[in-house]
């Protein structure tokens, strides 16, 4: 087991003008389950591959534990990697696939057998040890790939979208198994995904990346409730956070969020942040509000009578327990989430909704950064 440390790491590919990873700075504690998340092409895989040694570091230093590993070859880094498309050796049996890494490290035969059998039991693939990978289902293949990593008992697990080739149900199930597995093994894990659900559910901490730059590193709950900027706010959470453009105005010592359509009093807890800002910046502000904070249930709307606004229902989407209403607030489209809807909502219907301003986020429109920091 070990910690991992990235110090100002850059990656320049020859064919690309811009660096694919820029000034990557991160300390990963021992036993952490760190999730790298971000849209396609943001440099997650590149970062992971630099840690694995499959890709050279252009600039900066990487440490595993206290060891400087920039120039250490992949096999000597004490890591194990799980690939998106499993990468099982097709000509070897499941047992041999899992045993190979140990065999090449000259682990004693009985020890290999012990570890493979144990991993197979954890992953419930004991019955398939003699099969070839081509005779397994996708989920089984992925478990063999996990098993191959587990038996090595490495200092760090690296996983690059290991669940993305599985169907939705199997993905949820394997996700739970991975969490459980990390609970027992406590091995430092770096996990790459573009799926924000996986990031929120699995990570002890999340790193949100965009265009090779770290946007935010925090616990999942913090990233969700207190995003650094509009990108993180929009990327994490499903459906995405609502954004409404406007300005912050002051009148008689009170602050209001205001646009053509609405004028909402801002709760006092925000005042210190607002006072810190240059008044010029208050003219172009984006209000961010999660769908669950756009209240549409008539009974509850009245609890927030000062933040009411008229809306028009465009589309209604039933998602099991949740109902999503796509609302039109003048120019802006806003999504509202209702848990266990008790009333009927019809498209084209007029509706009074409440914006829960005490849960609002405010972003500077030009920089996209949160002002509540």
């Amino acid at each position: 087991m070990a910690s991992v440390s990235f110090r100002n790491v850059y990656k320049y590919y020859k064919s690309e003008k811009e660096p694919s990873v820029k000034d990557f700075q991160l300390e990963i504690a021992d036993g952490e389950f760190l999730v790298l998340v971000g849209p396609s092409g943001c440099g997650k895989t590149t970062t992971l591959r630099m840690l694995s040694g499959l890709e050279e570091v252009s600039k900066g230093d990487i440490y595993i534990g206290s060891r400087f590993i920039n120039y250490v070859s992949p096999k000597d880094r004490d890591i194990a990697m799980v690939f998106q498309n499993y990468a099982l050796y097709p000509n070897l049996s499941v047992y041999e696939n899992m045993a190979l890494g140990l065999k090449l490290r000259k682990v004693a035969k009985h020890e290999i057998e012990l570890r493979v059998k144990r991993a197979a039991r954890i992953l419930e693939i004991t019955n398939h040890l003699e099969k070839k990978p081509s005779q397994l289902s996708g989920g089984q293949k992925q478990r063999v790939a996990l098993g191959r990593a587990i038996v090595r008992e490495p200092a760090v697990f690296l996983m690059d979208e290991p669940l993305s080739n599985l169907d939705a149900k199997l993905r949820a199930q394997t996700r739970a198994e991975l969490i459980k597995m990390h609970g027992t093994l406590k091995t430092t894990t770096v996990y790459v995904t573009h799926d924000q659900t996986e990031a929120l559910t699995m990570g002890t901490r999340i790193v949100v990346m965009k265009d090779g730059l770290i946007q935010q590193v925090d616990k999942p709950a913090v990233v969700y409730s207190n995003p650094n900027n509009m990108f993180v706010a929009g990327f994490i959470g499903s459906p995405a956070m609502n954004f409404i453009k406007g300005a912050i105005t002051e009148s008689s010592d009170e602050f209001f969020f205001e646009n053509k359509r609405m004028r909402m009093r801002i709760p006092e807890s925000y005042y210190p942040y607002i006072r810190k800002l240059n008044p010029n910046n208050l003219r172009s502000i984006v209000l961010g509000l999660r769908p669950e904070h756009v209240i549409s249930e008539r009974a509850e709307v009245n609890n927030f009578s000062e933040w009411k606004v008229n809306a028009l229902i465009e589309i209604k989407e039933l998602m099991g327990a949740d109902t999503f209403l796509y609302l039109k607030l003048g120019e802006e489209q806003v999504i509202s989430r209702i848990v266990e809807a008790s009333e009927e909502y019809m498209p084209e219907e007029k509706l009074e909704v409440a914006l829960q301003m005490d849960k609002a986020h405010f972003f500077d429109e030009t920089t996209g950064n949160s002002i509540c920091r």
């Binding site: 694995s52 499959l54 992949p74 096999k75 990468a87 050796y89 097709p90 090449l104 490290r105 990978p133």
Partner: protein, 290 residues
């Protein structure tokens, strides 16, 4: 029989039509093979029948007898040509597979300077027919002073752009992840090559073996151009002299011998094809390459 009828019943009309036309085509393509086999066993009188016949009426081994007897009387025995051919084919096949595998693996999975230049040269050399490079080959071989050696037979075939290209295309399909997984597992380059790439590339190896054997087994260029010593020439060259008047053969009397020799030339091709075809299918099915 019942099973066959049952199979037919399951098929739609278009499938039956397709099946029958494919069977007819196969039968048609089988005719030359039938002819080669029968022709070799025809007595002298039947060889020149008009209209020519496919099926032999009075089979005889006379032609094979003549083949062996005639040459034992000559300066070089028939078996010497066979021996030469076998040596050349076996060495060439191994050399071609060895070089093309190594070259293709590096071109496909490794990064190095001038890679695209090397690939370009290989593509360029794909365009030349063997005839056009006869003279340069001759110059190189005499410059290396390997006329009248087995090496002179083998060398021109070893530089096989077709083999490298085919092999590279095939190795390209082996996922990079697989090789990277092996690297992380601690495998050395040699081990990755021998234990991972080689088995996965086996169908390509088989294909290249077939192509090379057929080309080398039937080649007369090396014997004609580079070998002045009669004892170093190969079977196909010898056979080409049998039935042609210009090179001291006998156009009429040579026909029987040529027929027998033709069968001998054809047999290895047939055997190798049947052998490798089965292996190729097997490896394709079991390799599980995604």
């Amino acid at each position: 029989m019942g099973a066959i009828i049952y199979q037919f019943k399951k098929m739609s009309w278009s499938e039956i039509v397709l099946l029958i036309s494919l069977m007819l085509m196969a039968a048609f393509l089988f005719l030359p093979i039938l002819f080669i086999f029968n022709h070799a066993f025809k007595p002298f009188s039947e060889l020149f029948n008009y209209p020519p016949t496919f099926i032999v009426r009075q089979p005889t081994f006379q032609n094979f007898n003549d083949l062996i007897m005639k040459t034992s009387a000559g300066a070089v025995p028939f078996t010497r040509y066979v021996f030469n051919s076998l040596i050349v084919v076996v060495c060439t096949v191994f050399a071609v597979i060895f070089t093309s595998l190594l070259a293709a693996y590096v071109l496909s999975k490794h990064k190095f300077y001038f890679k695209s230049l090397v690939m370009g040269v290989i593509m360029l050399s794909l365009m030349y027919a063997p005839e056009t490079v006869g003279i340069p080959r001759y110059l190189i071989i005499s410059w290396l002073d390997i006329n009248n050696t087995y090496f002179g037979h083998i060398l021109p075939f070893v530089a096989s752009p077709v083999a490298v290209f085919l092999m590279k295309q095939f190795i390209d399909q082996i996922p990079n992840d697989l090789i990277e997984a092996a690297k992380i597992d601690g495998a050395t380059e040699l081990r990755i090559f021998v234990k991972l790439v080689l088995p996965l590339a086996f169908p390509a190896v088989a294909t290249i073996a077939i192509i090379t054997i057929q080309a080398v087994w039937g080649d007369t260029q090396a014997s004609t151009l580079f070998m002045q010593d009669e004892t170093m020439k190969t079977l196909p060259y010898y056979i080409s002299t049998l039935a042609s008047a210009g090179t001291g053969g006998n156009t009429i009397a040579g026909q029987g011998i040529a027929a027998a020799a033709g069968l001998l030339m054809f047999l290895p091709n047939l055997i190798i094809f049947l052998l490798f075809q089965k292996r190729m299918m097997e490896t394709m099915v079991h390799s599980g390459v995604k």
